[in-house]
């Protein structure tokens, strides 16, 4: 499905190519940032970077060493700040926690000085606009059911940032983006779920029109936090256990058992909230035929996720007739792809 490409600076390549369709999609996730663009072969290219950084003491030797090792860094406030995936890897090596610019799906109030770093990462993955004011759709979470979050500030902040980079910025709901990416065959009717690092976003749409959107503030980070608590290890270690290719249906150790337990709990929590929200929702459309559920997001990448989801779904009496339940083939990049669809349709 996905494959690595030998591409150098995306800013340079994307900026040079004006033959492909315009419009870019940007997934601003708590754990990962992803930018999607159409390529000349008729497919899409998604540039992904982890939304994390780690500061280390600045000296000439370290700078040279990081450059030789191709580890991206920025010098900020006299500190050497390693950004992206490398920060995560270094944190694991040194047993430290990475700094995270976002928390629970929104910009973190505790990491205000992380904005310059986020701007640099977004600038790097998004590249220059190919024409002035090119459309860029970026995702925002829906209002949360379980925490009081300020989506307006978050949306306004990234609108300003994307605008500063030379794009015309548009916000799109994260769950809605999943529907644009995954439910084309169903005429964009169904339920789109995005299991991200900080939140799980849900959207139900009828013929591409969103009827109901909401989020819950539990995601991969919630699993990491709880696994780290029960195992007594740093969160980045818990993330590593989760992402090393385990199957939550068949945990092989105490650590994997803990991850599997919290995964099942997360899925159950999300489903119960969706059910409850749909049951209490007014003016909900009535569907003549069963609708599909599309799951996506980095947290859904773990082995056995969709089987556990189906098992937990079978335990509840869901108020809407459901047909297929499936995970996106490109779960990590589905939101960015959905944003790109919205951007491209806006350009046409």
């Amino acid at each position: 499905m996905t494959q690595q490409q030998n591409t150098t600076n995306p800013a340079a390549t994307q900026g040079a190519d004006t033959t492909v369709a315009l419009g870019k999609g940007l997934d601003i996730g708590t754990a990962n940032l992803a930018a999607a663009v159409q390529n000349a072969e008729g497919g899409i290219t998604v540039t992904v970077e982890r939304n994390a950084f780690l500061d280390i003491p600045s000296d000439v030797y370290s700078k040279n060493m990081l450059t030789k090792l191709k580890v991206p860094y920025v010098v900020h406030n006299n500190k050497l700040v390693v950004i992206g995936e490398a920060a995560f890897e270094l944190a694991n090596v040194f047993g430290r926690e990475t700094r995270r610019p976002m928390c629970d799906g929104l910009i973190s109030p505790n990491e205000q000085d992380a904005l310059p770093m986020m701007k640099l990462i977004i600038q790097k993955i998004l590249g220059e606009p190919r024409v002035s004011g090119e459309n860029c759709y970026f995702c925002v979470p829906a209002p949360s059911l379980d925490v009081d979050n300020n989506v307006v500030y978050h949306q306004g902040l990234f609108e300003s940032l994307v605008h500063k980079l030379g794009y015309t910025a548009h916000a799109i709901n994260e769950g809605h983006a999943v529907i644009f990416a995954e439910l084309a065959e169903n005429d964009f009717t169904g339920i789109g779920l995005s299991f991200g690092g900080g939140m799980a976003n849900a959207c139900i749409a009828y013929k591409s029109i969103p009827c109901l959107s909401f989020s819950v503030a539990r995601g991969g980070d919630w699993i990491d936090k709880n696994v780290a608590n029960v195992l007594g290890c740093p969160r980045s270690k818990a993330t590593h256990i989760k992402e090393r290719g385990i199957d939550i249906r068949d945990p092989k150790s105490r650590e994997e058992e803990a991850v599997a337990i919290y995964y099942r709990s997360l899925v159950g929590y999300v489903l119960q909230n969706i059910k409850s929200r749909f049951e209490s929702g007014q003016n909900m459309p009535s569907f003549q035929h069963p609708i599909d559920i599309a799951c996506s997001g980095g947290t859904s990448l773990v082995g056995g996720f969709i089987e556990i989801f189906r098992e937990e779904f079978a335990k509840i009496d869901f108020p809407i007739p459901i047909g297929r339940i499936f995970r996106s083939e490109e779960a990590l990049t589905a939101v960015a792809k959905g944003c790109l669809v919205a951007a491209a349709i806006g350009e046409s």
Partner: protein, 259 residues
């Protein structure tokens, strides 16, 4: 006991029943009576004597066998009695449960009746509420008077506040009143402010005005505009190739009536 019953059965099988009149007609005026227990004792005595005479089993052995048989019989009898008691207890418990079930059924019927009444009441109240809503909607155009009244009230309170503040200035200039009086006036003015604010909010005429203009957060990135030293230009970003979006776009255009 067993042997007595068997003897009774044997005697009834091998005898006939006759009424007193029949016996009288046969010329019998008296009959001899013997109890079944006596017959059993005679049989037992005869059996003992026969065993004794046969010499097959020693008298002590015969006595031991009889005693063992009696013990076995008593044990079996005790067991049967216990079973009978247990059966009786089960029967009593069953009767008690049936009684409880009956009572629960009665309670359920009573609760169901109450629920039906509550539902009926709910429907009635809802209908009443909808009717009132309808009336309110119909009366809405003519609802200007109370709003005007409230606005007038707000105006009066504003005037009162202004008047209090005006009175406060000469008082302060004369410096005859104490500081306590000024504090009281300020407190009263503050209280009036709060009340005006609350009343205004209730009426939807608060001091705040809604702005439709988007909030500009670009100032948040002032620090980010500085050129930071980095090696990002020389580092490759991780890229993934994905399936195209042509079919998605075609479907969307079709939905929007453009394709």
């Amino acid at each position: 006991m067993e042997s007595v019953n068997e003897i009774k059965e044997a005697l009834s099988a091998r005898s006939r029943t006759a009424t007193l009149d029949e016996l009288r007609s046969e010329g019998r005026r008296k009959v001899r009576l013997i109890r079944a227990e006596h017959v059993a004792a005679m049989v037992a005595e005869a059996v003992h004597a026969a065993i004794e005479q046969s010499g097959l089993i020693a008298p002590e052995e015969a006595q031991r066998l009889v005693e063992r048989s009696r013990q076995e019989f008593r044990a079996i009898l005790q067991q049967r009695e216990q079973e009978a008691r247990r059966a009786q207890e089960v029967e009593q418990n069953l009767a008690a449960r049936e009684q409880e079930l009956h009572e629960l059924r009665q309670q359920f019927e009573q609760t169901a009746g109450e629920l039906r009444d509550a539902q009926a009441e709910l429907y009635r109240v809802r209908a009443q509420f909808e009717s009132l809503q309808e009336q309110q909607r119909e009366a809405a155009p003519a609802a200007g008077a109370p709003t005007e009244l409230l606005l007038s009230l707000v105006q009066q309170m504003t005037n009162l506040k202004a008047s209090l503040l005006t009175q406060q200035q000469p008082a302060a200039a004369a410096k005859t009143a104490g500081a306590d009086f000024s504090a009281a006036i300020e407190k009263l003015a503050g209280s009036l402010n709060d009340r005006l604010e609350k009343l205004g909010k209730k009426m939807g005429v608060g001091a705040a005005v809604g702005g439709d203009a988007p909030v500009d957060f670009s100032g948040m990135f002032k620090g980010a505009d500085q050129a930071l030293e980095s090696n990002l230009d020389g580092i490759e970003a991780k890229q993934k190739a994905g399936g195209g979006i042509a079919s998605n776009l075609a479907r969307l255009k079709k939905l929007k009536g453009g394709g």
